[in-house]
Symmetry: C2
Amino acid sequence: MLKLTKKADYGLMALKYLAEHPEATALSAKDVADAYGIPAQLLAKILQQLTKSGLLRSHAGMNGGYALARDARSISAYEVILSIDGPFFITSCTKGKTGCELEPSCTIKEPLARVNETIAGVLKSISIQDLAEHEQPAARAQEAGGLVALTR
Amino acid sequence: MLKLTKKADYGLMALKYLAEHPEATALSAKDVADAYGIPAQLLAKILQQLTKSGLLRSHAGMNGGYALARDARSISAYEVILSIDGPFFITSCTKGKTGCELEPSCTIKEPLARVNETIAGVLKSISIQDLAEHEQPAARAQEAGGLVALTR
DNA sequence: GTAATTCCGACAGAAATGGTCGTATACTAA
DNA sequence: TTAGTATACGACCATTTCTGTCGGAATTAC
């Protein structure tokens, strides 16, 4: 419940790894997969998706691979998760423009929308760089969470 | 992704409904299910679970049903979700005391654990009473609908 | 006793998730 | 030019999780 998928985890791990190796012009999917012991082909697809979303740039052929498309500081965990798992909403009744089919259920959806925003805000406040320097990365996240939590 | 299950949604809706009808000593699972158009038997099981967790008190037999075990103000959305969906962790690699099997992945788990705490905190700050009190302005509902339309 | 209702386990269909395979394409270097 | 490395992409399958149903038992009011 409220879990990231493994794919999203893998994606975050991979970006973190790339951020930790700025000297390499490109790292192959296999390099990263081996480093973490995750399935290479699966990671490849994830990296392809991240490339399509513009978070990575890719290069085929020998000595090819992937590299961050932007500075690690400017890539948020939110973007990564969004790219891999698609847009998310905490409430499950999200049937498009008509809203809930079950009329009254919408009354619970609205308050939870704030929770959703809070979560998104926290994830947006965490950058790949934060993950790469795993000292005390999330002091910022705590702030953000606290602030948003009080806004209601 | 990062979605509540329908069960959790249903549970929240049901508690909200009970909070809105304090005059009734007990409402049956069918009453609530009919009010929202959700499967009665499924809701019954959810309410049973919430009863086991101590959030509801139940009464079998004719004119039986469920009622809030505590004041709506003292029941948080967190408790409801926890009861129905079990404990959640935002990271998928949570294999108990040994931590991740994949050594380096733990470095990403740590920052995300903060996110997890933040989310839990927000959910704890929302009570059933908050859900019940909420009046639904049509305009805001539309806004929300527009945002939600982006979900897959 | 009968009807309403909670309680509980088993189970089945549907959907999401995690992972694999095969193949085509792009690039590099010898 | 050719071989090797790597991305790109679609199809597919296995497993799990989620959602919902069924059937029966126990409980209580009338």
